[in-house]
Amino acid sequence: ESDRDDLLTLEEYKRYGRQMIVPAFGSLGGQMSLKRSKVLVVGAGGLGCPALLYLTAAGVGHIGIIDNDRVDTSNLHRQVLHSQETLGMFKCESAKLNLQKLNPFVDIKSYPFSLSNDNAFDIFEKYDVILDCTDTPATRYLINDVSVLTGRPLVSGAGLKSDGQLTILNLKENWPCYRCLYPNPPDPGSITSCSEGGVIGPAIGLVGISMALETIKIITGFYNNAYSKPFMLVYSGYPLQQYRLFKMRSRQPNCSVCGSNPNITKEDIRNNIIDYGLFCGKLDTNVL
């Protein structure tokens, strides 16, 4: 195992050679960028599992996984990184165990507790890119605000039944954040969780894989040069699979966290003056 971030071992060349020769990937420079990068995946569920599998396989150097949930039988139809052998284990640790077998060159850290106002800044500051693979609006707003305030790009995915959504937030100066798109939280009564609404494994899996590719694009610098206007991908699994691309708004000047006069600050979050549960109506589906 190589612990130097400035070179690739022969073993790593062999492992990553097939992706390094794809022009869009960016050759050795792309691979070195991946190796140096630090990616935090919040939620090791239906989205997190495939995203983690492909990010680990691709050779992201440092991966953090935060999830306070434990592996349950009802997860296994879609959370393919866990298994019968890791039932009852923290998902982040089950994930780490299996990912380390896939790629021992990746440094993986697990955080077996909830992301909260208290710990979010300290954790986010250790990483370059954040993936939102969670499933409650309150957590999504917390992840967004901390990503904005720490200047981290956020790859945000969601899925339910056979539908999915993916967007990149806070990528550059003119890109929107989650609050730019959704200034008001949804009515708690209108939220359907995976346990109530159900979810088809490959549908949410596809969104998770797409998140991995978008993360690779960000890290390898693809969006620095190429087309880069805010977008949202909307997937439907039925009747025929489709992945629609929508052009989205830029950063909103009146946004309460990324706008010109933001009123959400790091201090207010850390001091629990911002209460995400209250803001979103205290819904806790607790299903990642």
């Binding site: 939620g43 569920g45 239906g46 989205l47 997190g48 939102d132 693979c133 969670t134 499933d135 409650t136 609006p137 999504r140 995915g157 969601a158 899925g159 339910l160 039944k161 539908d163 999915g164 959504q165 798109l181 959704y182 200034p183 008001n184 939280p185 949804p186 009515d187 209108s190 939220i191 359907t192 969780s193 995976c194 609404g197 979810v199 949410i204 949202m232 909307v234 439907s236 629609r244 691309l245 929508f246 052009k247 989205m248 708004r249 909103q252 299903v287 990642l288």
Partner: protein
């Protein structure tokens, strides 16, 4: 005459129209006179199957927070929002925001 438009529901929002995702509609107004506001009105009256479901779509007289509105695959914020002037052939897509992971 009226204006030919297409209305689509994604992200499970087709529950308000008996599971039908795509609706080809004739908006009974003249081109130039109709805005997205009229389309929303039209949907509540003619596309939503059961009036009980109107609150799933509407809140405070506009589209409920959490529903994204796209005009010809572009966020309505970039197209003038509710005041967008409808043209023949326009596609209006409404998708509920998903939170599952």
């Amino acid at each position: 005459m009226g204006i030919k438009i297409k209305v689509e529901f994604l992200g499970g929002l087709d529950v308000i129209s008996s599971g039908v995702r795509e609706h080809k509609c004739i908006l009974p107004l003249e081109e130039g006179d109709a805005t997205l506001k009229d389309v929303i009105q039209f949907i509540t009256k003619n596309v939503i199957t059961d009036p009980k479901d109107i609150p799933v779509f509407i809140c405070d007289e506009t589209v409920r927070p959490g529903i994204l509105v796209l005009i010809n695959d572009t966020d309505w914020e970039l197209e003038g929002g509710e005041d967008y002037v409808v043209e023949s052939g326009d596609v209006f897509t409404f998708t509920s925001t998903l939170h599952g992971g």
